[in-house]
Amino acid sequence: MRNMIIIAGLALLCGCASNKPLELRLAVNDIYCMDTACACVHDVAARTYPQTLEKLKAGYGIDLQLVYFTETYQLEDAIASGEYDGALCKPWYALRHQEEAGADFRRIVDVLDPNNNRWLAGILIVPVDSPIQSLEELTGKHLYIGEADAYEKHHGAKRLLEQNGIKPAKIDTHASCGENVGVLLDEEADAAVVSDYALSADCAVDFARPEDFRILAQTEQIPLTSLMLDMNKVTDADARRLTAALLALSGANVPETLLGNGFVEPAPWNPPELEATP
């Protein structure tokens, strides 16, 4: 009888612990979310989160408060301020500010895009009628890549060139994919690196067609969107609780408005640039 009481008590305690309301405030910028994407791509960037938030609250006692940032510079400033419990965005936006924010970000899930893709890469493109046929031919040419805040089209692009021994005569940077597409349309450069969604889910869709360009190479694949928690603010148990809840709201149980299969365990990714940080 005494044992029965102890087991019942433990179960009650465990139950209380798992149902204890958990409030987390996240900074959000998601390529495919209507609240952060440009209106010109709202046909593909049509994801919304409120339905998922309601289910998290009702079913798991987790209150995720999302603060949307359409401008990624503002998102990064917000993350660097250390005022958030985490972020839902391209992981590099958060990871590169980890030290400044005094944070210890852990990617707890990756977010699938509407086509259930979890990866992001930079694509090295040339105009479709360019005489350049291979990556090797870019040595001695003029190339535009992204800026340092865009991992796939800056660090990834530099590594791609380095690994293949390509030495362009000039490498310039632009902050937006649209500007990099623009230098090709204006014939100001030989090739450019843009994010792989640039011609389908970026403002460039309004003035450039995928068939006008040829892809010469692709940078390494990295996670597209992750939900990250600052483990200096969130307990390990709470992180695991949120992970479990998000994974439970995926696949067959995914809220319709997420427009894909939801969340998956995070793919391993350790950007070497972080290790180089003193």
Binding site: C38, T70, A175, G178, G182, D202, D206, F207
Partner: protein, 315 residues
């Protein structure tokens, strides 16, 4: 001693002109202040705004209504043009008000698995009104598919045709087309605006390229500035600027939508200063019309708030 005085003065001036913002970055304040709002709660679905006779401000609604404020902000009797889907307005040198309506036909198109109805622009109608609102003439501009903005540049009528993705130049008198400015335009979000610039030029808000570009009436690029970036001289958001205007002293005012930023650049498009205190005028990718009068007053239209924000030079 004189040097110390100079250093002190410079320091004071600098501290006056700069302000700390979040993240420890500094921004530079401009010499403009907000001087209230016009038409709050009275203006609906603002398409465009323009300056008329005696620095009056004309506000065009997409429902064909033209609301006019005097330079002192007094509301005049509105003009009911009777036109629909009115998308652009311009005042000719003789003071007449030209209102442009984009004609459309509805079409069903497949979008993913769904069919949806869209309005396809098929032409432009122009109604010409005298300042009292009397209709003088109505004509169809056969060379245009749509009109997002219109300005008179000397003897030339320039119209931003989003469907053609060009600023179409026409002889103001005969309506005969004299040229098109098209090269390098990276338009997106259905926004296409330009303003009159010095020396008979037009400055196009090439938002997808993050540039303000000035062209002569032969379509030649005269000057440009802007790129996406973190600095105050740069433009932000997914595509900006959405509109611009030239101040009487040659400086340039630019408008960024969301996050809303109003900045004043020098005549060379450098040394931007931010107009402080302007709240978010739109949410997401929406157009913010701007107009500048002869005294340098800047008017900004917020279609979601249904009002005009007035900014004046500080005394």
């Amino acid at each position: 001693m004189k040097n110390i005085g100079l250093i002190l003065c410079t320091t004071l001036l600098l501290s006056e002109a700069t302000a700390k913002v979040a993240g420890g970055k500094t921004t530079v304040r401009t010499d403009y202040r907000i001087d209230g709002k016009l038409g709050e709660g009275q203006l609906d679905r603002i398409s465009q705004i323009t300056i008329g006779a005696n620095d009056s401000l004309h506000v065009l609604g997409s429902d064909g209504k033209v609301t006019t404020f005097t330079a002192d902000g007094v509301l005049s009797k509105p003009i009911e043009t009777g036109m629909e889907n009115t998308t652009a307005i311009a005042v000719s040198p003789d003071g007449n008000i030209h209102v442009f309506s984009t004609l459309t036909e509805t079409k069903k198109v497949k979008s993913g698995a769904r069919m949806r109805t869209v309005n396809i622009p098929i032409g432009v109608e122009c109604g010409i009104f005298d300042p009292s609102g009397k209709l003088l003439e109505k004509k169809t501009l056969n060379n245009l598919k749509s009109a997002k903005a219109a300005r008179f540049i000397g003897d030339t009528l320039a119209v931003a045709d989003l469907t053609a993705r060009a600023v179409v130049l026409m002889d103001a008198e005969s309506g005969k087309e004299t040229g098109r400015i098209k090269k390098g335009l990276r338009l997106c979000c259905g926004i296409f605006d330009f303003c009159e610039a010095p020396d008979n030029t037009v400055a196009i808000s090439n938002l997808g390229a993050f540039k303000l570009q000035r062209f002569d009436l032969d379509g030649k690029l005269v000057s440009e500035f802007g790129k996406r970036g973190r600095d105050l001289d740069d433009f932000q958001g997914c595509c900006n600027p959405v509109s611009a205007g030239y101040l009487p002293d040659g400086r340039i005012v630019t408008v960024e939508k969301d996050p809303t930023r109003i900045k004043v650049y020098d005549a060379a498009g450098k040394n931007a200063k931010k107009v402080e205190g302007v709240e978010e005028l739109v949410k997401g990718c929406s157009f913010v019309p701007v107009a500048v009068d002869s005294k340098g007053t800047i008017y900004l239209a917020s279609s979601i708030k249904g009002c005009i924000v007035k900014c004046v030079p500080k005394d």
